[in-house]
Amino acid sequence: MTDKYTMTDVAMPQLAESLVSATIAKWLKKPGDPIEQYEPICEVITDKVNAEIPSTLDGVMGDILAEEGQVVSVGEVICRIQTAGASDGTVASAGGASEPAHSPGAAISGDTSMRSRYSPAVQTLAAQHGIDLNRVQGTGLGGRITRKDVLKYIEQGGSQGAAAQPAVTEPARAERREQSGSAASPFSGLKQQPATPLSKEDLFTPIPDVRHSGLHLTETPKIPTIEVEGGGRSDYFIDVTPIRNTIARNMRQSVTEIPHAWTMIEVDVTNLVLLRNKLKDEFKRNEGVNLTYLAFLLKAVVNAIKDYPIMNSFWAVDKIVVKRDINLSLAVGTEDSVMTPVIHRADQKNIAGLAREIDELARKTREGKLTLDDMQGGTFTVNNTGSFGSILSYPIINYPQAAILTFESIVKKPVVINDMIAVRSMANLCLSLDHRILDGVICGRFLQRVKDNLEGYTLDTKLY
């Protein structure tokens, strides 16, 4: 430690109660970068929160010990920060920490103060086997004869002549004994807490101790797609992130538990296209958000669910639970995951309100700012698969809901109307349903109602 620089360890802090580990998402500082106190040094993700870890001190980034994508236990060192001068602080304590608080007293190698203090167990054994305890060598504290010493003596057939020097054969034990307490009070070493007030070391919290506060808990989560070690020339491995893992678990649970059935209907949305084109610019000006087709669809779906409330239910083994509130889950994709944030009480919102909610949730999803509340309580899911060009899809139900509906691309097609061919804007709606709860007839009627609602939009439809 003669160097004028000091390396200080930075440990993974306890980000929330009951969390024991976190994944490093991204390092924001490279070795050699200057760092100010409270400046974020890396981003981490956990089951519960996503956060940036701020630096605890000014300095220069030294070694990075935890790689991106690595799961690190709370308290484990993730990097070292180099600070100038003052090397007598934290590092010094690391070396001396293992030293026992009480220094060894006078040498007690010849101590026999406990030689003739026999415990009940020793006396019991001695009486049982007719042993003269004066002939037994004691290896305990202060030369005390332990129960084990007697057992050993018995094992060796009572001929303890050779056992005259067991203290020498076990030098390590004797040494430890020296450290563990003074001879005068053989049990003083057993105090569970040091009698002295907290030492400087305790108060200085030597790293790697866990920090508990000073975090920005609202920071953006980043999902690392990190290649991990392994693989060969023909393949490579990608780490499964917590989000990926959650998606996988939910999808598998849905597919294995719910018997899926599927149906599709075609809808003429020509009038809706005209209506939206008429209103969208003004809406954007007034509201600041885009007026999407999805908002109209959601309104149509909500109104159809009101007529067929069984669509808004889930299977509870011995009964079907029908939810009174209509909370629409909206599938929102990002580059490498999909989330289903929820529009709560969608039945109490008008088209403009829905458009604003869609915009808000989509933005929060992409920025990774969804809260737990945003994700919970969905009763029916809508997926705007048309947004990535699909014209037909077979969605997996958002467990434990009863059904999921997709809104496919709007495509201009020749359609026969009154025996004449017209060019109309058409779109498919696909529905996957839990066949334990729902059957074809009810779903057909429900889809028909959604279709009627969508085709019922006219240039006079009000957004508010």
Partner: protein
């Protein structure tokens, strides 16, 4: 056999018992829509509905009182206290009503409730989220108290508690929730109430404990065996009331040197009773004074991290005590 977290094992036990028995239901603060502050009851309201997963007002006396009434009427409630620290408003209901109903009614009535409460510190929870209240309820005849240390025991003991015909306090350790994982059979098994469990066989010293600190004991025992040849016999009490006297006596006789470890503070703790049992039955087998390593007798868990560290047991403290006892 699945590897799962301690908290998942508790959730699974509730789920299985609710599926198996219509009369089992859970109630507590935020146990429904939120799924519990620790997510212990997550998903239960979706599966069983709001009639069997009740979100209650912030009134522990009411949670316990409602549960007791329902139990007397034939239901099997699992009442959750969000933190065991908040349990004290319900002590009257638990000690004066639940514990005594069978006796008071000359066996006409019974009260098969389970009260789940997370105990323990080390989670930066400060004085209102870290307490170990075992000693408050310990010594109340009519109550059973269990405190699992592993995921396996958590599931098995909770299932046994639900099926028990009398009130059971289930003290789960919140530090264990995510920290401790283990093999948990997915089938139906129970860990019997009233039976202690030998975690490790040994010949030099006997360590008796329950809940979280046993993990420190087991780590320290491994290290002491490897580094210094000290062989420790470890007994998990599992049930604090009734204590498994036979197992305690047998374990104490094994080595004649007994260390009792728990996080609850030393004075008036469970360890005192264990020590009394040993001295009543094993005087002539003792080779050293009975030792206790417990939380300090200070009023509350401090919030300052170094102070919390000072307060909490850890592997090094346990190891040092075990070593000293072995050397005695």
């Amino acid at each position: 056999m699945a590897v799962m977290e301690y908290i998942d094992a508790i959730r699974l036990a509730m789920k299985e018992e609710m599926e198996k028995d219509e009369s089992v239901f859970v109630l507590g603060e935020d146990v429904g829509v939120k799924g519990g502050v620790f997510t212990t009851t997550k998903g239960l309201i979706e599966q069983f509905g709001e009639m069997r997963v009740l979100d209650t007002p912030l009134a522990e006396s009411a949670i316990a009182g409602v549960a007791i009434g329902a139990a007397m009427y034939g239901m099997k409630p699992i009442a959750e206290m969000q933190y065991s620290d908040f349990m004290l408003p319900a002590t009257n209901q638990i000690i004066s009503e639940a514990a005594k109903i069978r006796y008071r009614s000359n066996n006409d009535w019974s009260c098969p409730i389970v009260v789940r409460a997370p105990i323990g510190g080390g989670i930066f929870g400060g004085l209102y989220h870290s307490q170990c209240p075992e000693s408050i309820f310990f010594g109340t005849p009519g109550l059973k108290i269990v405190a699992p240390f592993s995921a396996y025991d958590a599931k098995g003991l909770l299932k046994a508690a639900v099926r028990d015909p009398d009130p059971v306090l289930f003290f789960e350790n919140k530090k264990c929730y995510k920290l401790i994982t283990g093999d948990v059979p997915e089938d139906d098994y129970v860990v019997p109430i009233g039976k202690a469990n030998v975690l490790r066989e040994g010949s030099d010293i006997t360590v008796i404990g329950y809940s979280m600190p046993l993990h420190f004991v087991m780590q320290a025992a491994e290290e002491l065996e490897k580094e210094e040849g000290i062989s420790a016999h470890v007994l998990d009490l599992r049930t604090l009331q009734p204590l498994d006297q036979d197992a305690i006596i047998e374990s104490a006789r094994r080595t004649g040197k007994v260390l009792i470890v728990h996080e609850d503070n030393k004075t008036g703790g469970v360890g005192g009773e264990v020590a009394a049992i040993i001295s009543e039955h094993c005087l002539y087998d003792l080779d050293a004074p009975i030792m206790r390593l417990c939380g300090p007798d200070v009023p509350a868990m401090p919030i300052s991290p170094p102070m919390e560290k000072f307060f909490m047991l850890n592997k090094d403290k346990v190891k040092e005590s075990m070593r000293q006892l072995a050397l005695y």
